[in-house]
């Protein structure tokens, strides 16, 4: 005959940590951004290196022409942010796995954070603050839509 006895002691309760579970979202981010980056990077490589004149077609005018379109601005911006955070998070996990001394770990993680933030700010600034028609440049290196001075 089955009898039910009371729990011999208070049930174990996990101290729930408040806030966002960064490890879990980091893990999900790596997979999601990885899939998107495959499309973005291979699309980027195809458009820059294969289409049209291929690698020989890349010059100032080519880049300026691309960034004149909001489509390529968004494309490059997404690639920049996703790739840098993806790479930075990957480096962070490697440091966590292999740096044993707390000080080494702190220095390396700090260096990764600073470089990722700096590169993202710099890259975003370049994409949006880019002047396709700098004054005083010879017309043959500029994109065709620049006004003739």
């Amino acid at each position: 005959m089955a009898t039910t006895i009371d729990s011999p002691r208070a049930p174990y309760s996990v101290p729930r940590k408040r806030g966002v579970n960064w490890e879990k979202w980091g893990w999900i981010y790596m997979r999601a951004s990885g899939v998107v980056l495959i499309v973005l990077i291979f699309g980027h490589l195809f458009v820059n290196l294969v289409m049209g004149d291929g690698v020989k077609g890349i010059d100032f005018a080519f880049v300026a022409g691309k960034w004149a379109s909001p489509f390529w601005q968004v494309w490059d911006l997404l690639m920049l942010w996703l790739a840098f955070i993806h790479g930075g998070n990957g480096m962070r996990t490697i440091v966590n796995d292999y740096a044993t001394r707390p000080l080494t770990r702190k220095i390396l993680l700090g260096a990764i954070l600073v470089s990722v933030v700096a590169e993202i700010i710099l890259g975003t600034w370049v994409i949006f603050g880019f002047d396709p028609c700098p004054a005083g440049s010879p017309a043959d290196v500029l994109p065709s839509f620049c006004p003739v001075v």
Partner: protein, 255 residues
């Protein structure tokens, strides 16, 4: 050997003596009373191809150096006492045959990594069992079973966790994990395997608690899918797959 080549011709054809090989073992020794640092010591033993590394260790201990220290109990791959690093791979000494190793070179034997070394091939298993206990590896149910009956389970429900029931807690997987080597806080593959055993058991009712425990900073997200654990498991458990299933269960929010 009792069979010799010059046996009487009238008898059955004499069997060729079984070929024995001289095998060199280089063992990482550590005696905490004497040594500051572990040291490598080599031994030559006569072995047959069908002998195991455990037999070689026995021969050394019984015939050459009685101070050699290692754990073993059943010697047949069930108790999980004699996991050690053999030629750089975590194996059970009692399941590793001489014929499967390249005996033209010395065989390196050392204690498993990532756990505190106590003596020769013996490590302190307490941290390993501590994280095993933390995942609550026992059936928890708040409801009584059907009257005068066991808790019935379908074949499909049982099959979900069949693989992870095979664990013998030898620590070969956990001590092969590079994340565990540098971060002893990580639960390690063996604890996750044993959590998997109960998380996916339809009779158990504490799956959510275990998923919360493993959804920790030092939980399943630290797994880098190196597959060292799957390679090391002497029971052939697909450890990395079990960890991935726990990750998916955490994302789903239910087993």
């Amino acid at each position: 050997m009792t069979l010799v080549a010059d046996a009487p011709a009238s008898g059955p054809a004499p069997e060729a003596p079984i070929e024995a090989f001289t095998v060199t073992l280089i063992i990482r020794r550590f005696d905490p009373d004497v040594d500051e640092e572990p040291r490598w010591q080599d031994f030559d033993v006569q072995m047959f191809a069908t002998d195991r590394i455990l037999d070689a260790l026995h021969k050394i201990k019984w015939e050459q150096d009685g101070s050699l220290t290692f754990r073993r109990s059943c010697a047949h791959g069930i108790c999980g006492s004699d996991a050690m690093r053999i030629n750089g791979r975590n194996r059970l000494a009692c399941k590793t045959l001489i014929k499967d190793l390249d005996i033209t070179k010395p065989i390196y034997v050392e204690a498993i990594k990532g756990l505190p070394l106590e003596k020769d091939l013996i490590v302190d298993m307490d941290p390993f069992f501590e994280s095993f206990r933390e995942v609550q590896p026992f059936l928890q149910s708040n409801t009584a079973p059907p009257k005068d009956k066991e808790r019935i389970q379908s074949v499909a429900d049982r099959a979900r966790f069949d693989d992870t029931t095979k664990c013998i807690l030898c620590a070969a997987c956990t001590s092969s994990c590079p994340v565990f080597w540098t971060d002893g806080q990580y639960f390690g593959p063996a604890a996750i395997v044993n959590a998997h055993r109960f998380i996916f058991d339809s009779r158990d009712e504490a799956a959510q608690t275990r998923l919360d425990i493993l959804n920790d900073k030092e939980g399943v997200w630290r797994c880098r899918t190196t597959f060292n654990c799957t390679d090391a498991c002497p029971r052939g458990i697909q450890v990395t797959q079990a960890i991935a299933e726990v990750k998916q269960a955490i994302m789903r929010g239910k087993p």
